[in-house]
Symmetry: C2
Subunit: 141 residues, 2 copies
Amino acid sequence: MKSEPKKHSSDCLVAYGIDTFGDRWSFLVLRDMMLYGKCRYGDFLASEEQIATNILAARLKHLESEGIISKARDPENRRSYIYSLTEKGLDLAPVLLEIIRWSSRHLKTNARRRRLLARIETDRDGVLADIRTRTAILTPP
Amino acid sequence: MKSEPKKHSSDCLVAYGIDTFGDRWSFLVLRDMMLYGKCRYGDFLASEEQIATNILAARLKHLESEGIISKARDPENRRSYIYSLTEKGLDLAPVLLEIIRWSSRHLKTNARRRRLLARIETDRDGVLADIRTRTAILTPP
DNA sequence: AAATTAACTTGCAAAATACAAGTTATAATG
DNA sequence: CATTATAACTTGTATTTTGCAAGTTAATTT
């Protein structure tokens, strides 16, 4: 079920991005898809940030209406759906990586974070390729 | 007046970024500073997205408490203040540029947008340098 | 001295979010 | 094959956040 894309508040490229993918919960869903390879409603619900089910449903609908994700029946389980990133959604990977680089530099480090940052710095193209092929880059926490 | 940084909701680098600078209004203020060289309360209020004055005050306080911007009296006009990006805030420039690149690819183009994108693609380091030296990259719309 | 400007604060209505419970369609189990 | 369980939601309502209008304070300008 794909609703109308919302009208945007200004003519600015930055505002367009923010209106499209930039709210907290939308972006955490995208993180789940890109970093952890998640693709199911229940997987998103299970993330540590504890999104409410009605909000998750609304965000998935919004992202779909903006053409960032798409929804398809799971051929192996007809009560499940598989969400995946469209080209437009995959193109957001560089934004995600820059956010991770920024946070890495400004948040106290730990081994897991150091490994992720090291991989982004030394093998950025490999990371981007993994996102495109839906290969999980991290195991969920 | 610098309040306490808020506690963050999860251990994730992406969530840290989003909690720190990722809400709609905060990021638009950062855009105003980085792209247009704005530095005054009244300039932020005048942006085309029409932020409410109480929300702007709250966001500036938040960004300051997170160490992304700093506030100083204007030596030339004692009823005014000058907000500026800290190192931590300047480090967000790559995130901004990736958002602009993404939007450029997915929003119908116009001359102004083409020029901005072209500059980012051919002179990224120059753009980043301009942001660090508080040189406006665009004139406000 | 009076009017104006810059940067806010306050009060309240409207909208968005969070929480709990309920619904529907499929699939697995005894 | 009837019952229970699972996956993906929807609905109702309390709480929180946002948006709008008006007011305050301190420093200029006229």
